[in-house]
Symmetry: C2
Subunit: 141 residues, 2 copies
DNA sequence: TTCATGTAAATGCATAAGTCATATAGTGGC
DNA sequence: GCCACTATATGACTTATGCATTTACATGAA
C-alpha cells in the first residue's frame, strides 16, 4: 500500500463504506493540483517568512509535516519568485544557516485572490459531485 | 491568455480584486487531480455506457464539452479497466461505429466510495483554507 | 577536536497527469 | 465520391509531484 495514500487518510476501499483493502493508489491524496501555491501565498500574507518555517506552518492546511517534501515547497517558492509573485532577501543575521526571507508582491496578492475564486468554484463542483453521489450510491448497492 | 484558464473562470489577476492581466496560468482550472476518475465511476453507476456518451454527460460535473479532451477520458477508462474497476464489451449492434460499453465492477464501486471519502475531506480542507483567507485577506489590503 | 543533531535551501531523476494534435474507422446523406 | 457525424485511440510534449540526495552553517555533547 502506498504511503502517501495512507497519510492522506484515503486508503482505497477503506473510506466510508468499508470493503476490500490493499489496492494500489493513484489519487494523490485527492489534493488540488498546485494547492501548495495558494497556501504559501496565504501564509506569506501574514508577513515575511522563510521556507523552513513555512514548512511547519503548512500543517494548518492539512500537509503532514512528517511526510512533506521540502523540495517541492522550495521549488514552488522559487517559481513564484521567478514569476514576480514573491520577492526574497537573504537573512544572515539570525544565526544558523542563511535563510531566504520571502515577501508577497502586489501581483502575488492578486494571484491569491484569483486562487480563492478558483478554490471557491472547486468546492462547489466537489459538493455537487457529493450530492449526486449520495443520491445514487445508496440505491445502487 | 491560456484558454482552459478562462474556461475555469480563473484568469489570473482578474478575480476579485482586479489588477494585472494576461499572465500565464498554471492553476489547471483548480481541479482536483484525477477528478475525471470518480466522475466516470459515478456516471457508470447509473448503468453501462460508452465513452462518447460519457463525454457529454461529464458536463454535469463541470467539464466543458467544448474544450474537453476525449483522449484523456478514453485513456482513463482503459486504465480503470486494466486495474479491474471496470469491464467492457463491444457493442456492434447499435449502428454507427462500434462502441465500447463499460460497466463498473465491485472493486470499482469500492473505489468510488473511497473517492467520495477523499473528496469529502478535500472539501473540508478547501473550506478551511477559504475561512483562513477570508479572515485575513481583508486586513492585509 | 570530532561528531551528531538541528536548521536551511536546493538539485537530480523518475514517474504521473494533463494538453494538444492527429490517426483510424464505420455510417448515412448528398 | 465526398462530407459530416459518431466513436475510439495513440503520439509527443509539458508540468507537477515523489523520493532521494547534496550542501552548508551552527551548536552542544563526547
Amino acid at each position: 500500500m502506498c504511503s502517501h495514500h495512507v497519510a492522506a487518510g484515503c486508503r482505497r476501499g477503506d473510506a466510508g463504506a468499508g470493503g476490500s483493502e490493499g489496492a494500489t493508489c493513484g489519487c494523490g491524496g485527492g489534493r488540488m493540483k498546485r494547492f501548495l501555491e495558494p497556501c504559501l501565498l496565504l501564509l506569506l500574507l501574514r508577513g515575511q517568512a522563510h521556507g523552513y518555517e513555512l514548512l511547519r506552518q503548512l500543517q494548518e492546511f492539512g500537509f503532514d509535516p512528517d511526510q512533506q517534501d521540502p523540495g517541492l515547497m522550495y521549488r514552488t517558492l522559487r517559481r513564484l519568485e521567478r514569476d514576480g509573485y514573491l520577492t526574497s532577501s537573504w537573512d544572515t543575521e539570525s544565526g544558523g544557516p542563511a535563510r531566504r526571507l520571502y515577501e508577497v508582491t502586489l501581483e502575488g496578492k492578486d494571484l491569491l485572490h484569483a486562487w480563492a475564486g478558483v478554490i471557491q468554484r472547486n468546492v462547489q463542483t466537489l459538493q455537487a459531485f457529493l450530492r449526486s453521489y449520495r443520491g445514487q450510491a445508496g440505491d445502487a448497492e
